[in-house]
Amino acid sequence: MKKATALLVLAALLFLAACSKPGAKSADLAQVLSQMKGAARNSEMMDLTGDDLMPNYGIDPADTRQFAACVDSTGTKGDEIVLMQGKDGAAADRIRQKLDLRYKQKQAEMKDYLPEEYAVLKQCRVRQDGEYVCLIVSPRHEALEKIYADALGL
């Protein structure tokens, strides 16, 4: 009986450990971004590389397990999609802080400058689900966020 109880406890612990992180379903973020770009209806988006992470966001590429990102290239729109998976929970938290800073900066830049873009931005957000963190800014943010959520099983 003791053996059985021990086995049960062990199994339960393993189960809880495996399922403790929200957003546990894995996704290939490059594929997710590709899908989102198709729905974003902005043909002027440019992809970002690992070289852009530190100067643009202050994010250490070593903190990421994978990422995919693109931003409007014209300088006149606020569209920006940043999808990241931290290498662990602590890294994801650091990425979250940096994307929060980016979001605030975009607000500061657009508030009295591009009212329509600012109105869009205010409806968008930084989102963290376990190791996954994203910033999705687009007039079609609802559709894009649904693609993201579906891909990650959120």
Binding site: M1, M46, G58, Q66
Partner: protein
């Protein structure tokens, strides 16, 4: 005594199977490579197809009097949304040629002007973060090791401050850069014109021209360099040539890739080495 044991073992096995199901499955990329995906490589190969022809379309710039782009290795470009477009253009070109435009860095924000750049640093101030740290422009430039500081500001200043005060604010901002980097060279670039059809009451090609005249005077007085970028982008009427404008339906002052190419060539053929 045995029955509960078997039951517990079966239950434990079921839980273990369920636990594995909840675990993180390898992504297709990871599965293919057997390790975490190389995001850099993936990103590099996923430059939008619409962008790819840019470098192919561009004819080789005249190399006669063109400086080596390495002259910009210690340069920082400070500007608004016009310079933000230049930054994005350079970023894309560097995917194919890492030495494109030297190692010039950028400090840009869409609505930046010398007026709001002079404002105190704060959570809601305009100052763009560099490497994740928000700082005054002069502090970020110093951190970047800037020895040549190119500034193109004005289109966000002329309406609220007027041409004369906007130019005075830019002069003040330049002096702040020099306080932090006394050995740096200041290079003021003219503000660039708008489409003829997009003239506003306070911001128009006439006021931009007045502003640029003030900048020229400041440069003469201070011994700073002045680059008349506007001269290669304007038509005979002084307005931005329509073929260089990316936003003819809205503000009528932002640039196409071709305008960026001309701007860069102008810098490389006019920079004092």
């Amino acid at each position: 005594m045995r029955k509960p044991g078997r039951l517990a073992a079966a239950l434990a096995a079921a839980l273990l199977v369920a636990a594995c199901g909840c675990g993180r499955a390898a992504s297709p990329a990871e599965a293919a490579s057997g390790s975490a995906p190389s995001s850099r490589a993936e990103q590099k190969s996923s430059v939008p197809a619409s962008r790819a022809p840019v470098s192919q379309k561009l004819p080789a710039a005249s190399s006669a009097a063109q400086a080596d782009p390495a002259v910009l290795d210690d340069a920082v470009f400070v500007g608004d949304s016009v310079t933000l477009k230049l930054k994005n253009y350079v970023t894309l070109r560097r995917r194919a040629d890492s030495s494109f435009f030297g190692r010039a860095k950028f400090l840009v924000a869409g609505n930046m002007g010398s007026g709001n750049a002079l404002a105190p640093l704060g959570e809601n101030s305009i100052h763009p973060p560099y490497n994740g740290k928000k700082a005054l422009l002069e502090d970020s430039a110093a951190q970047m090791g800037a020895k040549k500081i190119f500034l193109m500001l004005g289109v966000n200043d002329i309406a609220p401050y007027g041409a004369a005060r906007a130019a005075a604010n830019l002069e003040k901002l330049c002096l702040r850069f020099l306080e932090k980097r006394p050995d740096a060279r200041i290079i003021l670039q003219s503000a660039t014109p708008m489409l003829k059809s997009k003239q506003l009451k306070k911001l128009n090609n006439e006021s931009i021209s007045q502003y640029n005249g003030r900048l020229r005077e400041i440069c003469r007085k201070r011994g700073w360099d002045y680059l008349d970028v506007a001269s290669v982008l304007a038509g005979k009427d002084g307005a931005l040539k329509p073929e260089y404008c990316s936003d003819p339906e809205s503000l009528g002052l932002h640039f196409t890739d071709e305008a960026c190419r001309i701007w860069i060539r102008y810098i490389l053929t006019h920079i004092k080495t």
